[in-house]
């Protein structure tokens, strides 16, 4: 059996996008299901559906942008955070502006 067989399969997760982000991508939806095992993969999946969305969520460091927060099961996460099957993910815009 190959090593590939032991890798965890991508799991479906539910992602909730902020209204400000959705407004930038005309056909985007506030609630979306994607299959990912990490936050980074999840953002790639969003980007493949709505090209350009990754650059709105992440900078080139690469890291989640300073004024964007991603929460999974109530905890703030990073790009490397693993996602369990069925995880509920919230992408939120921080209080910012003037």
């Amino acid at each position: 059996m190959s090593i590939e067989a032991f890798r965890p399969a991508s799991a479906p997760v539910v992602v909730r996008l902020p209204a400000l982000l959705v407004s930038l991508f005309p056909r985007a939806e506030r609630r979306v299901e994607v299959s990912s095992t990490t936050v980074n993969e999840m953002i790639d999946a969003l980007d493949s559906r709505w090209p350009g969305m990754r650059d709105c969520i992440c900078d080139s460091t690469p890291a989640i942008r300073r004024h964007i927060n991603i929460f999974v099961e109530g905890k703030r996460v990073t790009l490397a955070t693993r996602l369990a099957a069925g995880a509920d993910v919230f992408i939120l815009t921080a209080i910012s502006g003037g």
Binding site: L20, L21, D59, S60, T61, R65, H67, S96
Partner: protein, 360 residues
């Protein structure tokens, strides 16, 4: 054919457009566009009529917005507007210059990008940040920004940029290598005896008259300057002006000797109109003599500033002159600066003013 002039305003809360017929006596305002993003520079490509707006949003980073229908609808992209992984991410777009089918964008932290597909994607002009002075570049009050872009009118390989506070740089080979061009400009904020460095000057605005390939004018943090050799040597033209400090500069559309500046009272005393009386200063002899144009401008309690990209002329006859204030007012002169009227007020802080003249 009848003509219409559009004044394109970049503001802290989106794009506004104010337009008039060629008489420029009655104006209609529309906006805000671009989801009220903070936009540092809004400019039209006079060849295609497309409008581009560059800026940055605290949540989503830099973007260039584009409208192909004079501002009614907009798209946006930031694809390729990034430095290599590990470098400080790009915060905002500060300047846009269309020319010969290519679009250039200056960004914060200072760097230069270009697009050959009408701002859908961008590529880095890496040679600028490889200049040996780059580690010395220091941010000015607005950040470490590339705010001025001047494209040579005939030679597509030549570009001048202004970076605060690094100075003026020039490339003669399309951006592969760059040369500092600051000789003769002061840096009063450096220790005595070190006030004329190779680089590190705080250039505020750099402009070139239309069709003149080696004449440049510069508003600096420390003085106003003219160059007749593409910036290899600068001479002061500040004598006769009320201060040595200001932000914007704008050239007459047809006369290389006519330049408009808006000196402010000083960098440490409020940065507003001298004696709180508004004036646009005009030279018609290349900076030898100056006259303050005040007719119609507030002559009391004018505690506003004008930012580095918020002064522009149009190409009508006679030329129109326009400036937007930090307090959200737009002033217009339909007669080359002789008389003025406030044509919009209560807008967000105005970052940039540019014009587009179209046939109707």
């Amino acid at each position: 054919m009848a003509k219409k002039v559009l004044i394109l305003l970049g503001t802290r809360k989106g794009v506004f457009i104010i337009e008039s017929d060629a008489e420029r006596r009655s104006w209609q305002l529309r906006g805000p566009y671009c989801d009220t993003w903070p936009l540092n520079h809004v400019v039209a490509d006079p060849v295609t009529g497309a409008i581009y707006a560059g800026g940055g949003n605290a949540w989503f980073g830099p973007a260039v917005w584009r409208s192909a229908d004079l501002g009614t609808t907009w798209t946006h992209s930031r694809a390729g507007l990034a430095y290599d992984a590990g470098e400080q991410p790009i915060k905002s777009v500060w300047s846009i210059a269309p020319g010969r089918g290519r679009l250039y964008a200056g960004v914060e932290p200072a760097g230069l990008f270009y697009s050959d597909d009408a701002a859908q994607s961008w590529a880095h002009v890496a040679g600028l940040r490889q200049h040996p002075s780059q580690p010395d570049w220091q941010p000015g009050g607005g950040g470490l920004i590339l705010h001025s872009l001047v494209l040579h009118p005939q030679d597509e390989m030549q570009i001048w940029v202004g970076i605060s506070a690094a100075g003026v740089f020039h490339t003669a080979n399309g951006g592969a290598t760059w040369e500092a061009r600051n000789r003769g400009t002061r840096a009063d904020f450096l220790p005595e005896g070190q006030n004329y460095p190779d680089h590190g000057q705080c250039v505020h605005c750099l402009v070139m008259p239309n069709g003149v390939s080696n004449r440049l004018y510069q508003q600096n943090h420390c003085g106003m300057y003219r160059s007749d050799d593409g910036g290899q040597r600068w001479e002061s033209i500040e004598a006769g002006l009320p201060s040595t400090f200001g932000f914007p500069a704008a050239v007459h559309p047809r006369d290389a000797e006519t330049l408009y500046l808006i000196p402010l009272n000083g960098d440490t005393v409020g940065r507003f109109m001298p004696e709180a009386k508004a004036a646009v200063w005009r030279t018609t002899d290349g900076g030898k003599t100056w006259r303050g144009q005040r007719n119609g401008l507030p002559q009391g309690n004018a505690f506003f500033g004008v930012l580095r990209q918020a002064l522009a002329t149009d190409r009508l006859e006679p030329a129109g002159v326009y400036f937007g204030t930090t307090s959200g007012a737009l002033y217009a002169s339909p007669d080359e600066g002789n008389s003025w009227a406030c044509i919009a007020q209560h807008l967000p802080t105005i970052s940039s003013v540019e014009t587009l003249v179209i046939d109707t």
